[in-house]
C-alpha cells in the first residue's frame, strides 16, 4: 500500500500559506493508494481541512504539486477534477428536492434523463432513502441529510471522495451508526476516500490509515493499531487514546531500550527508546492506562506506587485517578472482576513492562 509508484493521490512537497507569513501546511508528502480510506486527523487549525481543500481545488498550494492518478492537478479547476465531496454542513441545495440535488451533478454532465433517473434511484437506495426523492432537504433529519450528501457525492461516480468532518453535526449515537455505514459503503464500492476529522474514535473506526496532523505537519501516518500502540512522538501519544505521561531525563541508552530518571527523584524507569537520542536528554514517557498492572511486580525495575485520588465506576471497569511520581492525573483502568476493594486515599502498587513504556520527545 505504501508503494509510491502505485499511489493514486500523491502530495509532493506541499506548502500552503494564506498570508505569506505563516505556513498552514508545511512540506506535506502523502501517498494514498487506490481504494484506500485515509483519514486526516488533527486538532482544529492543524491544516487538515486546508489540505483537503487543496485536493478539491478550492485552495491552491503555495508550493509543490498534487498528483491524481499520476497527473498534476493544480491547474485543473474544481469542476473538472471529478472528485466528490461531502461538506461539513452537507451543503445540500435547499431549493431543490433530494432527487434534484442528486441529479444536479448528472445534469451538468449532460447525461440522458432516463439514465439520470436510474442512477439517482440507485444512489438513494444505497443510502436507504429510496422513497425520499421528492422531499426537500429541510424536511429531513440531520442523519438523512448526511446520507443525501453522501449519495450526492457518489452519484456521479467520482474518482475520489473527500469528506470534511461529515458527521460533526450529528449526535453521538447517529454518528457511530453513520461511521459504520460509511465504512460499509466504502468496502462495497471500493472507492478511494480521504476523510477529515478531529474525532480520533471516528478515525480509528473507519480508516485504513490515519495521518495525524499538527501544526501543518503530518506527525505520523500509519494504520490505527500502530498509531495507538506505537506512537512515534508525544503529540500522537496524547492525541490518540488515553495516555499517562511521566517526565524525566535519559540516563542510559541500551540498544532499543533506555533508562530514564524521573523528575523529582521518584526513581528510574526502563523504557523503549523511541524519540530520544542521547544521554542527558529530557524525555516524556508514555504509558497507556490499560498497560499498568496493579498489585503485581515485574522483573523490570518498573515498580511504583500511587495514591488513589478518585475512583469512577464505569460498569465494565473502574477508572482510577492516581498520584504517581508527582503526576496526579495518572489514570489506571481496573477491570471490574469483583476483587477490587480499595478506597480513595489508598496506596496502590503499580507496575508495567518496559516494552509498554515509550520514551518520547518532550
Amino acid at each position: 500500500m505504501n508503494d509510491t509508484s502505485q499511489s493514486f493521490v500523491k502530495f509532493e512537497k506541499i506548502d500552503k500559506s494564506y498570508d505569506g507569513e505563516v505556513l498552514v501546511v508545511k512540506n506535506l508528502n502523502l501517498d494514498i493508494a487506490k481504494g484506500e480510506f485515509v483519514t486526516m486527523l488533527g486538532p482544529s487549525g492543524s491544516g487538515k481541512t486546508t489540505t483537503l481543500m487543496m485536493l478539491a481545488g478550492f485552495e491552491t498550494p503555495t508550493n509543490g504539486e498534487i498528483f491524481l492518478d499520476t497527473k498534476p492537478i493544480s491547474k485543473i479547476p474544481p469542476y473538472e477534477r471529478e472528485i466528490g465531496m461531502v461538506f461539513q454542513n452537507y451543503a445540500l441545495f435547499p431549493h431543490m428536492t433530494v432527487a434534484e440535488n442528486l441529479s444536479f451533478p448528472l445534469e451538468v454532465r449532460k447525461i440522458s434523463k432516463p439514465d439520470i433517473k436510474e442512477k439517482v434511484q440507485k444512489a438513494l437506495d444505497m443510502v436507504e432513502l429510496g422513497n425520499f426523492g421528492t422531499r426537500f432537504p429541510a424536511q429531513l433529519s440531520g442523519g438523512q441529510q448526511q446520507r443525501v450528501a453522501l449519495a450526492r457525492a457518489l452519484v456521479f461516480e467520482p474518482r475520489l471522495v473527500l469528506m470534511d468532518e461529515p458527521l460533526g453535526a450529528l449526535d453521538k449515537n447517529l454518528r457511530e451508526q453513520m461511521q459504520y455505514e460509511i465504512k460499509h459503503i466504502h468496502d462495497r464500492i471500493g472507492i478511494t476516500v480521504v476523510y477529515v476529522t478531529h474525532d480520533q474514535s471516528e478515525a480509528l473506526t473507519m480508516s485504513n490509515r490515519i495521518a495525524v496532523f499538527n501544526d501543518g505537519i503530518v506527525q505520523q501516518l500509519s494504520t490505527p493499531d500502530i498509531l495507538y500502540e506505537k506512537p512515534e512522538n508525544s503529540f500522537v501519544a496524547k492525541f490518540i487514546g488515553e495516555n499517562n505521561t511521566l517526565n524525566g531525563v535519559v540516563r542510559e541508552l541500551n540498544g532499543s531500550s533506555c533508562t530514564v530518571e524521573l523528575d523529582g527523584g521518584f526513581g528510574t524507569v526502563k523504557a523503549l527508546k523511541i524519540n530520544v537520542n542521547e544521554v542527558g536528554e529530557k524525555t516524556q514517557l508514555s504509558i497507556r492506562p490499560e498497560r499498568v498492572s496493579i498489585d503485581k511486580t515485574t522483573s523490570d525495575s518498573n515498580n511504583f506506587s500511587g495514591k488513589i485520588e478518585e475512583l469512577i465506576y464505569l460498569g465494565d471497569h473502574i477508572r482510577a485517578r492516581l498520584d504517581v511520581c508527582g503526576n496526579n492525573e495518572f489514570i489506571v483502568k481496573v477491570p471490574n472482576e469483583g476483587s477490587f476493594n480499595h478506597k480513595e486515599g489508598d496506596e496502590l502498587k503499580l507496575s508495567w513492562n518496559s516494552e509498554d513504556v515509550r520514551a518520547l520527545d518532550l
Binding site: 471529478e82 451538468v108 456521479f156
Partner: protein, 425 residues
C-alpha cells in the same frame, strides 16, 4: 392497533374542564399582550387606517353639493334629454330658490365642485345669484324662471352646462376615478374620453409605470453585485462598503436630489468633464436632467439601498459552501451561480423589487425636482390637486388607484412567489 378516542370532556385534576381551566390561565397573558400592543394599535388606527379610509371616502363622495341643491338635482333627473333641449321649468325654479335662499359659504364650496365638472360655472352662478337676489329684493315673481335665467346670462340656454350636472347629481359618484383615467360623463351619463387637450393622467400613469419598472430593474442590476460583495467580503472591507451604502441613506433626500441636479445639468459636473475630455463638444452638452432620464438616474440612486439591503440579508445566510459544492459536482462557475446561487436569492430579489417598485410608483420629490415637464410622475398630480386646485376628490381617486395597484401587485406577488418568502432582514 386500535385507538379509542374518549368523547368525554377532559378534566383537570381538580375536576374543572380542561379547556375552561386553560382559558382562565391564559386570560391574563392575553390581556397583558393586548395592553402592550394597544398604544401601537391606537396609533395605527388614528394615523393610518382613519386617514386612508377618509381619503377613500372622499374619492367617491359628492354629498356636499347634493345638500346645497337637493331639489334642483331631483327635478334635473326628470329631464328627458332626448325630448327637450333644455331642462324643464321646474329645474330653473328650484335652482332660483336654492340660490336665493342658500347659505353663501356652502354655495361657494359647491361652486368649486361645479367648476371641476365644467369651468365657467363659478362666474356664471355668482353673476346669476346677484341678479336673483335683486329680483327677490324687489319682490317680483318671474313668469318664466327659464326665461329669467337666460335673460340674466345666455349660457343658461346652453345645454352643455346642464349636461355637466350629470356627474354631480348623486351622493356617491365614480366620476373622480373616471377623471383620474382621463374619462368623463357625457350628456347621457355614459363614460367617454375627455377632450384631447384635457387628457394627461393616462400618459402620466404609463410613465409612472415605465419609470418604476426601469428603476426596479436598474436597482437590481446595480444592487446585486454590491450586495454580493457586501455578503462575501471580509468583515473590515464589507463594513466600509456598508457605510458607503448607508451614508446616502442617512443624507436628506432633498440634498441628494439637488446634488444630482448639480451633477447632471448642462453646465454641471458630468457635462463639464465630458467637454473637458473632448468626448462631446461645448455646444453638444447632453440634456440629462429635467427630463425622464434625470428622473431615472436620480431615483435609481436614491432607491438603491432598498434593493441592496434585502438582497444582502438573504445573501449573507447562503453558505459559501454551496457554490463550492456546485463546482465540486461539476458545474462551471456560471452554471453554479445560475442553478444554485441565484435561486436562493429570489426572496431577496422579490423583497427588494417589491419595495423599490412600490416606493417608486408613489415617488414625488425627486421627479418633481429633476423631472422637468416630461419626467413628472403621478405623485406630482396628486400634490398639484391637493395644494393648487384643492380638488381633493380627484386626489383621493388618484391615491386610491395607486393603492389598488399596489394591492394587486402584492396579490400577484403572493400568488407567484409567496409572501412568506419575502425577506427584509
Amino acid at each position: 392497533m386500535e385507538v379509542t378516542i374518549s368523547t368525554a370532556e377532559l378534566l383537570t385534576t381538580d375536576g374543572i374542564p380542561l379547556k375552561q381551566s386553560l382559558r382562565k390561565a391564559e386570560r391574563r397573558n392575553k390581556l397583558r399582550a393586548f395592553l402592550l400592543v394597544f398604544p401601537l394599535l391606537l396609533f395605527i388606527i388614528v394615523t393610518f387606517v382613519m386617514p386612508i379610509g377618509d381619503m377613500l371616502l372622499r374619492s367617491v363622495d359628492d354629498s356636499q353639493i347634493n345638500s346645497v341643491f337637493p331639489k334642483t338635482f331631483e327635478e334635473y333627473k326628470n329631464w328627458d334629454k332626448g325630448a327637450d333641449e333644455l331642462p324643464p321649468e321646474e329645474v330653473y325654479k328650484s335652482l332660483f330658490f336654492e340660490l336665493a335662499n342658500g347659505d353663501k359659504r356652502q354655495i361657494g364650496k359647491a361652486l368649486t365642485r361645479m367648476n371641476y365638472a365644467k369651468s365657467g360655472w363659478k362666474s356664471l352662478i355668482k353673476k346669476t345669484t346677484r341678479e336673483i337676489k335683486k329680483i327677490v329684493k324687489k319682490g317680483e315673481e318671474p313668469v318664466s324662471y327659464k326665461d329669467t335665467f337666460i335673460k340674466i346670462n345666455k349660457f343658461w340656454g346652453d345645454p352643455t352646462y346642464w349636461y355637466s350636472f350629470n356627474q354631480m347629481v348623486n351622493d356617491r359618484s365614480s366620476i373622480y376615478y373616471w377623471n383620474a383615467l382621463d374619462r368623463t360623463f357625457d350628456e347621457d351619463g355614459d363614460v367617454v374620453l375627455q377632450d384631447e387637450k384635457r387628457r394627461m393622467y393616462i400618459k402620466t400613469w404609463l410613465r409612472t409605470f415605465k419609470v418604476s419598472v426601469y428603476v426596479t430593474i436598474f436597482c437590481l442590476i446595480l444592487g446585486f453585485p454590491v450586495a454580493h460583495l457586501l455578503a462575501n467580503l471580509p468583515l473590515r472591507y464589507s463594513n466600509l462598503l456598508m457605510i458607503f451604502v448607508l451614508l446616502p441613506f442617512w443624507t436628506s433626500l432633498l440634498v441628494r436630489t439637488t446634488a444630482w441636479i448639480v451633477m447632471l445639468q448642462q453646465n454641471g459636473v458630468i457635462n463639464g468633464i465630458l467637454v473637458w475630455l473632448g468626448v462631446i463638444s461645448d455646444d453638444g452638452r447632453i440634456q440629462m436632467v429635467y427630463n425622464e432620464a434625470g428622473t431615472l438616474i436620480a431615483m435609481t440612486q436614491i432607491l438603491l439601498p432598498f434593493m441592496i439591503l434585502p438582497l444582502y440579508s438573504v445573501m449573507r445566510v447562503i453558505p459559501k459552501s454551496h457554490m463550492r459544492a456546485a463546482q465540486n459536482l461539476g458545474a462551471k462557475p456560471a452554471m453554479a451561480f445560475w442553478r444554485v446561487y441565484l435561486p436562493q436569492t429570489i426572496p431577496g430579489i422579490s423583497a427588494g423589487g417589491l419595495l423599490v417598485f412600490v416606493l417608486a410608483i408613489g415617488y414625488f420629490i425627486t421627479p418633481e425636482l429633476v423631472g422637468g415637464k416630461d419626467g413628472k410622475l403621478i405623485g406630482s398630480w396628486i400634490a398639484y390637486h391637493l395644494k393648487t386646485t384643492l380638488n381633493w376628490g380627484l386626489c383621493a381617486a388618484l391615491g386610491g388607484i395607486l393603492l389598488g395597484i399596489m394591492l394587486i401587485f402584492y396579490w400577484l406577488y403572493n400568488k407567484i412567489v409567496g409572501i412568506d418568502n419575502i425577506k427584509l432582514g
